[in-house]
């Protein structure tokens, strides 16, 4: 699959990554070569094959509805780059 500059910008925006002009060409080339590498998958006839999302089949792993929280708020906020009044702080979000 041919990868264009717009393709890379589109996914970069989805992934919230910024691409600088000086790295753009190499990045497009790298991604294209990886995607091309993956294009070999289309050779395989998988018409009647179900995808496997988990290598190990497991089902119904469920927890009981019992409160087990024992963390301290200050501890949980201790790694926050910016905080205020017991909250995580971000630039003003306009809804």
């Amino acid at each position: 699959m041919k990868i264009t500059s717009q393709d890379v910008e589109y996914v970069a925006n989805l992934a919230r990554l910024k691409i600088h002009d000086d790295e753009k060409d190499k990045l497009i080339a790298d991604i294209e070569s990886i995607i091309e590498f993956a294009d070999v998958l289309s050779e395989v006839d998988t018409e009647n094959i179900e995808p496997t999302y988990h290598a190990i089949k497991a089902q119904n792993v469920l927890r009981e509805d019992i409160v087990t929280n024992n963390y301290d708020r200050d501890e949980l906020l201790s790694n926050a780059p910016s905080k205020q009044d017991g909250c995580f702080e971000v630039p003003k979000v306009v809804e």
């Binding site: 089902q59 119904n60 929280n69 205020q84 017991g86 995580f88 702080e89 003003k92």
Partner: protein, 478 residues
């Protein structure tokens, strides 16, 4: 030109589990920010989700109560997008294997039954809350609500008016409360709805351009938003404007919807099965067991009230739409009160008072026994109907036994005939003109005399007895 409106609803209901969907944090409402959090619901590196069993059971219960089929092998999918209230930057939801599918709820707009089909009910987790500090230049994030279990109920576009939407929402709320899986408090955000709406000319098959409205926080707001938006669509069509398929935000204070386009750009959620979670397998036994645990649902209860208590379909629906009200009603009856009378009180004065107070049936401060007592006092003639209304409003202020209130306010009705006769004699002799009028055939005059007698008893005389005694007295002198 006449139009028809095509409406589909997406209803998010918070499940009333003790803990969040994927961690052991409590779901309690209204505490200090970020107190109900842990490394898992804050999406700290390396943490993993484990699904709450009760949330699954509740979702199945809701599905069965809404006539859905249950998916035997479901998965959970990641919906990827960045927003500060979403700590993992993906919401765990369900894409193509919702836990419940193909259900319906019947509503009765204008007394006629209409079936609203439910496309799906799936489980997902709630997001946190953004607090907008009016003064500051920042937004604060509180993740207490983040990870709360939700079900999302998605209807087919079978709803044709704001009234039908309201009836459907009330039905959903009633069912969820009956089966006790959600407390459905819209003002606390535990029941929220998004509206998909389009209009088309009557008789046309093709659906019109659809818009989605978010941020609808009450049933009243849903009605207002639908009316506003369908009018906006019609105007756009009539005046040649161009409708675009978009997401809009309902501003209830302004009574208008606004385009949210800027924020919604690049909607590509890249759903994929969450590799941290395993399949949800639902066995026939599990379905049977949950089915058996279902209580009598609003629709069945309504039918029973019509048959058993002779209520009109309208009255029965008014009562059974609230589990609390219906339970209250039945307790009054087991205290010996007459069904029709209890019903009149509940959907009359009591409903009116709750409405004024913006309260729910669950907020009724007095007990069914106390209401039954009040009804008994009226029926026995101890107090008048008017006095009864006074007593009720006192009971709303401070729940006490009605006898006490009656005594305190001196509302006991005078039914003693000899005492009343004394007063009547006085009234008759004090009003010769009216007596003459009556004798001359002016029936209206008796009303005036009754009024005078009531006034003389300070309103405590039993009006029926007064009327009878007065008539006897007047007729005696003819």
């Amino acid at each position: 030109m006449s139009y028809e409106t095509v409406i589909g609803l997406e209803i998010h209901a918070e499940l009333s589990t003790a803990t969040k969907m994927y961690c052991g944090c409590p779901t309690s409402f209204g505490s200090e920010p970020n107190m109900h959090c842990c490394p898992i619901c804050l999406a700290m590196p390396g943490t993993l989700p484990v699904l709450n069993k009760k949330a699954v059971e509740y979702a199945i219960k809701a599905g069965l109560a809404m006539n859905c089929s249950i998916t035997d092998m479901g998965k959970q999918d990641r919906k990827n997008y960045f927003y500060p209230d979403l700590p993992k930057a993906y919401q765990i939801s369900q894409l193509d294997t919702p836990i419940c599918v193909n259900g319906y709820i019947d509503i009765t707009p204008g007394g006629k039954t209409k079936r609203i089909r439910i496309n799906r009910i799936h489980i997902e987790e709630d997001a946190g809350k953004l607090l907008h500090d009016a003064a500051g230049s920042s937004t604060l994030v509180d993740y207490n609500r983040g990870g709360t279990p939700l079900i999302e109920i998605v209807t087919e576009p079978d709803i044709s008016s704001s009234e039908e939407a309201r009836l459907f929402l009330e039905s959903v709320k009633a069912i969820l409360q009956y089966i006790e899986v959600s407390d459905c408090k819209m003002e606390q955000g535990s029941l929220r709805c998004d509206v998909n709406i389009s209009v088309r000319k009557k008789g046309e098959n093709k659906l019109g351009t659809r818009t989605e409205m978010k941020n609808i926080n009450s049933f009243k707001a849903a009605v207002r938003a639908i009316d506003f938006e369908s009018n906006r669509h019609i105007e756009e069509i009539e005046y040649g404007g161009k409708l675009i398929q978009e997401t809009r935000r309902w501003d209830d204070a302004k009574g208008e919807s606004f385009s949210m386009r800027g924020k919604e750009e690049a909607q590509d959620y890249r759903y994929f099965p969450d590799p941290d979670l395993v399949y949800i397998a639902v066995s026939d036994e599990m379905i049977a067991q949950i089915k058996n645990s279902l209580p009598e649902l609003p629709a069945a209860r309504k039918e029973r009230y019509i048959g058993e208590y002779n209520l009109t379909p309208y009255d029965a629906e008014q009562i059974t739409n609230s589990k609390h009200l219906a339970d209250f009603f039945e307790e009054c009856i087991s205290c010996g009160a007459t069904p029709k009378t209890v019903c009149n009180w509940l959907i009359g004065d009591i409903a009116k008072t709750l409405n004024e107070k913006n309260a729910e049936p669950a907020d009724i401060p007095f007990s069914p026994a106390q209401l039954s007592k009040l009804i008994e006092l009226i029926e026995k003639g101890t107090i008048s109907n008017t006095a009864g209304k006074k007593v009720l409003s006192e009971m709303f202020e401070k729940a006490r036994n009605p006898e006490e209130i009656v005594k305190e306010l001196g509302l006991v009705q005078i039914s003693d005939e000899s005492a009343l006769l004394r007063i009547i004699t006085e009234v008759v002799s004090a009003n010769p003109k009216s007596v003459e009028d009556y004798k001359a055939g002016k029936d209206k005059a008796i009303g005036y005399l009754i009024g005078q007698a009531m006034r003389a008893t300070k309103g405590q005389g039993n009006p029926q007895i007064i009327a009878k005694l007065l008539k006897d007295e007047l007729d005696k002198n003819i």
